[in-house]
Symmetry: C2
Subunit: 240 residues, 2 copies
């Protein structure tokens, strides 16, 4: 995972039994009440509960399965593809995903959850809240479920991060044969989000997981940002 010593074992721990999250819920407090965190843990929180806690939820017509499409259009700055009801767009935050991240699952009937206004800031708030409350230095990732071209199915990826290196830059490191590595940037937070999804599931109501045992060097105190560091600028992108 990092360029140094062989890594040790990793644990991916579901945080179960959390109460219902509503507007104003203190997510940091919720997590600290539910699980004993250690320095170096990375806490992965799904977008859905972050959006609910932040009130990023809007009313839709429960009898019209397409009524949220108005919100999708509004949240998009650029439509990349349309097919039937599916819209792949770039959101105003810069994410390229289906339906601008607006979705109807795991929210009350008649409502749609939007992406958080600034999911890096959401992650920072939770990180700072955990530090203040439990006195531990953790990383926080806000995760969401995105599709991708060329491969079927969805995986969880990071849409916000705090306290953890977003991308591992391996430039200058060498492989086992001493050759400089060609692949120089690993999307660390996306791999952590994917690992966390394995214990979360889509229907089991586990919106938080803890990843324990990462190289302590991936924890950072300085700024971390999915939007700045992980989203590929349009001009660099061969598929936009």
């Amino acid at each position: 995972m990092s360029a140094g010593d062989p890594p040790g074992e990793l644990r991916v721990i579901p945080v179960t039994g959390l109460p219902e999250v509503t507007r104003g819920t203190d997510l940091a407090g919720l997590v600290c009440d539910a699980v004993e965190l250690h320095d170096g843990d990375v806490v992965v929180v799904t977008q859905k509960v972050v959006s609910k806690a932040e009130g990023a939820v809007e009313a839709v017509d429960p009898d019209d399965p397409l009524s949220h499409k108005v919100i999708v259009e509004r949240e998009s700055v650029r439509i990349l593809r349309r097919r039937g009801e599916l819209i792949i767009s770039e959101t105003r935050h810069g994410f390229v995903c289906a339906n601008a991240g607006v979705d109807l699952s795991n929210v009350e009937a008649g409502t749609a959850a939007l992406l958080p206004e600034d999911s890096d800031r959401s992650a920072r708030r939770i990180r700072d809240g955990i530090r203040g409350r439990a006195g531990v230095r953790v990383g926080v990732i806000v995760s969401d479920t995105f599709g991708r071209p060329w491969r079927r199915g969805v995986t969880d990826v990071a849409i916000g991060a705090a306290g953890v290196q977003v991308v591992l830059d391996l430039r200058g490191t060498t492989d086992a044969y001493g050759r400089e590595l060609a692949v120089t940037e690993v999307a660390l937070v996306d791999e952590i989000a994917a690992a966390a999804e394995l214990v979360m599931g889509k229907s089991t109501g586990v919106p938080v997981a803890v990843v324990r045992g990462l190289d302590p060097a991936v924890l950072v105190d300085g700024p971390a940002s999915v939007r700045d560091d992980l989203l590929r600028p349009g001009a660099d992108d061969l598929f936009r």
Copy 2:
């Protein structure tokens, strides 16, 4: 992760201290000698050692950093994008990736590793070998490191699988509010490959990891195939 009971904790275990892999190496034997496997484990093996063991390695001019491009062109059935030295193509196996999966890292100078001829078959051989040798029922994933549009950095994904559900089909399952899930297919093997990469690293020489604690229901005895079940057919793909 599955649609049933809340999942338990997952462990991601690096398999360290493996000897050098060369043409003809029995990977199943190597893994069984290095780690005690349990029923239900998923063993993730990187493409590089699979290709080496299968002899999917070709000579290139060590003084010409572009000499492997001839192999890249030959392994490609369709070029999607070119920029400078970078080629994004569809390989003859159906993968869309950079440089047709041909790469020069973690192989001897003067050689390039190609993708395995049939990475699902590679996974099956290792799975069967482990079953024969250790008597345990495991899943096997062959992983590789791919980039993706829109987001910087690479993540590990599955290019072959045996004994494990490739895609979790959640159709007919409901969310915590009883609403039928809109996102119905989770690319399980890609998430497992990403989790495994977190303990492997690119330069630490850990080519195998074990993921322990997955829902036993994701292990399957019947056929599993990344190429058949996870690769999106060109006609379905909005970005090809």
